[in-house]
């Protein structure tokens, strides 16, 4: 355009700028000053522009850039810092917030004036922008000096608010924002100069509070306070802290209030979970769940306390039963299991309800409950294994005279609970054996109340433990049904062959050997009447099948015998053995112990037991000389003609032999076979397997029935190696190979 632009000397140009800058300072100080007009602004802008486009030595860009920075620095040092230094506490904070605002404004205006530098100069020299320079000035001169004090003031205010005082939240918000701004895009200043101290302070604050409250407050109250604190802290973050602080802050508070003291809290003597369960404080339990669910692994802590509580309660029940039983001073489980098992069932139901309601079925609690009951259900009571106790209880529910007062639905429920408890038992096969023995007695001595219940429990057991578990028992039930059918054809046989008829009613039940428990059969010399019965039935049975052999188990038989006593005739229901003893007295009036032994061909142990039941127990059918309470080998016996009872028919009980040892022996034997079978199965399918894996797979396969001992498995492996089912790899002694 040809217009000659006047050359601006630096000093002149800068003096013009100074006028503008001074005006700006006055504006910021709040003095009466008119805001910049467009013309004023343009003049300042153009001055800079001209000074920068001048050629050669008159290009004042660099000097201007430096002057820009100096201006800010000078302003801060002369005005800002002194005013900050003379103030304290929240007043200092206020001042800082104000000064920061001012600074930002100042930078904004100066950047507008010096804008031309931003366009070309900084790029040419790769220098920071005017904005960055502006912030950095504040950072280096103000922030560096003040941030620690600021942090302290802020934290004090926060603590005051925690104690319930009102504070200026907006002020705090703005002060905290400075830490964020000073990061210039990064959070490091906020985190390192503020947040870390905030977290430390919070930790110690709540640590002190927790220590105080745990001693003073009840468990429910403490929980309420904790809940309240957590809410307030979340609120605090929302209102004036940076949102990234929330997770970290809440975690610290949870840790101090809920994690550190969890055991003391929940185990509080008068208000802890023991009491809460006792008083059924469902809402408190729900609160516990909700609070701890938010803490990582928090539920695990609670579940642990829960587990210990349940275990302790269950163990106490067992110990009660134990004490009661040993006081009874009898060997047989005499009814204390009737009390114990329902109590355990009750305990189980109660905590199941809690599990499903307050603890929302969470698997930590499921696990805890399971582990607790696994401990409870595997304790012995007065020497009786828990498997036996559970089997006795089942027997009681199912037999006559057991639970007739209960309705069908109640019985079904009980059976269901029994099967559930069985799940916690390790030695399930011991239970099966005892159950089988008792089932045998129920079936043979006609003590079944209800066939449907018997079938129902068998199907439940089958479902839970697998078909092999119940196959023998089912066989037993079938045998008895078949025997009844068989009886009809036996009766017909007797009608058709009147000459072989024994002369009185007689029933025989044929049992399939594999299904029933093994019984000893004594070589007793039966009275002739009974011998005839045996012969008759043998004749009948051989006509039916030629391929089976009959072995008589007289210990399971019953006899109805008429006793012609002087007062009145009484029908005695006795075992075959007892009958055999009594019939001897038909021939001889008086018999000595040794005569009885030789005439019957029994052992001393058995003879003593029999004679005791007939002469020293409830019904004195025989008179004993001397009339002491126990049998000795020098005693003599005589029919007691004076015996009587108000009933016309009485059952003379013969206490069963304590077969607990035999059961345990039988189970051990079965276990050996079971381990063998499992090992062979695994070897057959895997062909080659390491020792460790073989052991663990065997244990797993058998876990439904029992827990095998590692030594027992090793012994079976050894045996199988000797029998050439498998071999150890000669090059790798930890590997086994299947030998087909």
């Amino acid at each position: 355009m040809g217009q000659e632009i006047k050359l601006i000397e630096f000093d002149q140009g800068w003096a013009d700028m100074q006028k503008g800058i001074s005006k700006l300072k006055r504006l910021l100080a709040g003095e009466a000053e008119t805001p910049f007009s467009t013309r004023e602004y343009m003049t300042l802008y153009t001055t800079i522009y001209n000074m920068c486009i001048q050629k050669g030595p008159y290009d004042h860009s660099e000097q201007l850039y430096n002057k820009y920075k100096e201006t800010l620095e000078e302003y801060i040092t002369s005005t800002v810092l002194p005013s900050l230094r003379e103030k304290h506490d929240k007043f200092m904070l206020k001042e800082l917030v104000q000064r920061w605002l001012n600074h930002k404004l100042m930078v904004k205006w100066l950047v507008r004036f010096f804008h031309y530098l931003d366009r070309y100069f900084i790029n040419r020299r790769s220098l920071p922008t005017l904005n960055v320079v502006g912030l950095t000035c504040f950072l280096d001169l103000v922030y560096e000096e003040m941030h620690s004090k600021v942090k302290d003031v802020v934290l004090v205010l926060i603590d005051q608010e925690r104690e319930g005082e009102q504070i200026d939240r907006t002020l705090l918000k703005n002060a905290v924002a400075i830490f964020v701004d000073m990061g210039m895009g990064e959070m490091n200043r906020y985190q390192n100069d503020f947040e870390v101290y905030l977290l430390q302070g919070t930790t110690s604050y709540y640590s002190r509070k927790a220590a105080k409250w745990i001693g003073e407050d009840t468990c429910p109250n403490y929980l309420l306070k904790a809940e309240e604190c957590l809410k307030k802290e979340a609120d605090r973050v929302y209102n004036y802290l940076h949102l990234t602080t929330e997770t970290k802050l809440i975690e610290k508070v949870q840790h101090e209030l809920l994690v550190v003291y969890v055991t003391q809290l929940l185990e509080k003597e008068d208000s802890g979970i023991k009491v809460l369960f006792r008083d059924d404080k469902v809402d408190v339990h729900c609160r516990i769940y909700l609070l701890y669910n938010k803490i990582s692994q928090g539920l695990e802590l609670v579940a642990n306390v829960f587990k210990q509580h349940v275990t302790a309660e269950g163990t106490a029940l067992v110990q009660q039963a134990d004490a009661a039983a040993s006081n009874q001073a009898s060997n047989a489980p005499g009814g204390h299991e009737q009390v114990l098992i329902p109590k355990i069932i009750e305990l189980h139901d109660k905590y199941m309800t809690y599990l499903n309601s307050c603890f929302q079925g969470h698997n930590q609690f499921q696990k805890a409950l399971k582990e607790a009951f696994e401990v409870i259900c595997n304790k012995t009571v007065n020497g009786n294994p828990s498997a036996e106790i559970l089997a006795s209880f089942a027997d009681h529910v199912l037999r006559k005279g057991g639970s007739e007062k209960l309705g069908d639905d109640d019985i079904e429920e009980r059976l269901e609970k029994i099967v559930k408890l069985l799940d916690y038992l390790i030695d399930k096969d011991v239970f099966a054996e005892f159950y089988r023995k008792k089932l045998a007695r129920r079936l043979l001595f006609d003590r079944i109340t209800n066939d449907d219940h018997e079938r129902s429990i068998l199907s439940k057991l089958k479902q839970q433990c697998g078909a092999p578990f119940t196959s023998k028992m089912e066989g037993m039930v079938t045998d008895v049904v078949l025997a009844k059918e068989n009886q009809a054809s036996f009766q017909e046989y007797l009608r058709n062959n009147p000459d072989v008829h024994p002369g009185f009613d007689f029933t025989a039940t044929v049992l399939t050997t594999g299904f029933w428990p093994s019984y000893k059969s004594l070589n007793i010399i039966l009275p002739t009447e009974l011998v005839k019965c045996v012969e008759v039935f043998k004749g009948f049975y051989e006509k039916k099948t030629k391929h089976r052999k009959l072995t008589w188990i007289h210990s399971l038989g019953t006899c109805h015998i008429n006793g012609k006593f002087e007062p009145k005739q009484i029908e005695l229901i006795v075992s075959i053995y007892q009958a055999s003893v009594l019939v001897l007295f038909n021939e001889s009036g008086r018999l000595s112990y040794s005569e009885i032994v030789s005439q019957l061909n029994l052992t001393h142990e058995d003879t003593t037991r029999l004679l005791h039941s007939l002469s020293c127990a409830k019904y004195k059918i025989l008179n004993k000389e001397p009339s002491s309470k126990s049998i000795s080998q020098s005693d003599t016996f005589e029919f007691n003609p004076k015996f009587t009872d108000k009933l016309r028919r009485i059952k003379v009980p013969l206490p069963p032999v304590d077969d607990r040892k035999k059961v345990v022996e039988d189970v051990s034997k079965d276990r050996r076979y079971a381990i063998d079978a499992a090992v062979v199965r695994i070897m057959k399918s895997r062909k080659v397997i390491s020792h460790q894996q073989l052991i663990s797979e065997t244990v797993e396969q058998l876990s439904r029935t029992f827990k095998p001992d590692i030594k027992a498995i090793k012994k079976r492996i050894e045996d199988l190696i000797t029998r050439d089912y498998m071999e150890r790899d000669p090059d790798q002694p930890t590997m086994f190979r299947y030998l087909a």
């Binding site: 020792h691 002694p733 930890t734």
Partner: protein, 234 residues
């Protein structure tokens, strides 16, 4: 026999070659060595028949005893067992002609004195780690005298252990023998247990058993042995 004729045919073959006059030196050597080896074999066989039982055609226990006294070695000495191993003898107390030939040829002995002189070298060979495990398992199998026998009674095992392992693992063998005699779980020992004990001696620190783990694949008898020792030492 075969060699002689083979060598002979080779000779005739040579006459067709370009140089019909000279035979190759290896032919001469071969024929010489075959002559020597056949002489050696003859001496070995003669020695066999010297000790063998006339009616059975094998060297029987009596013959072995005589051989031992001629060698001035006790017939229960482990070196006789080593000799049996070298021969790969199948039946305890008996040597067949084939076995005899095999052993003596390998030892390059065709007289009693040479055989006796070969014993120290034989022992060194057996005790080499590459051979010893094989010898150890052989010694067990050698004692299975009955046809379907799989195990050896405790008394014999104790003697065998002492004989075979005593010099190398004195303390382990002594303790184990003591244990075997007082325990009642096992009346016989099978090959798996026998080999297991060898591995035990080689791998497990003794007498502290610090690196023994009963959950691993060790035979049960060794688990019980370690347990017994731990009780004894406490």
């Amino acid at each position: 026999m075969m060699r002689r004729s083979a060598c002979a045919s080779k000779k005739t073959g040579q006459t067709n070659s370009t140089n019909p006059i000279s035979c190759s030196p290896s032919d001469l050597f071969r024929s010489a060595s075959s002559k020597a080896s056949s002489k050696e074999m003859e001496r070995i066989d003669n020695l066999f028949y010297f000790y063998a039982n006339k009616s059975s055609g094998m060297i029987d226990p009596e013959g072995i005893e005589t051989l031992c006294s001629d060698m001035e070695v006790d017939h229960t000495d482990v070196r006789i067992l080593m000799l049996a191993w070298k021969m790969k003898a199948e039946k305890q107390g008996y040597f067949t002609l084939e076995e005899w030939r095999r052993g003596l040829k390998a030892l390059r002995a065709d007289t009693v004195s040479k055989l006796k002189k070969a014993l120290p070298e034989l022992e060194k060979e057996v005790r080499r780690p590459s051979n010893f495990e094989d010898f150890y398992s052989y010694s067990f199998c050698y004692c299975l005298t009955e046809e379907k026998q799989k195990s050896i009674d405790i008394e014999s095992i104790c003697q065998l252990l002492d004989l075979v392992l005593g010099s190398q693992f004195r303390s382990q063998v002594d303790y184990f023998i003591e244990y075997l005699k007082i325990q009642s779980d096992y009346k016989v020992i099978n090959l798996d247990q026998w080999m297991g004990f060898f591995r035990f001696c080689n791998e497990i620190s003794f007498p502290d058993h610090s690196n023994y783990n009963p959950d691993l694949a060790w035979p049960l008898i060794l688990d019980n042995f370690v347990e017994w020792m731990q009780v004894k030492q406490s």
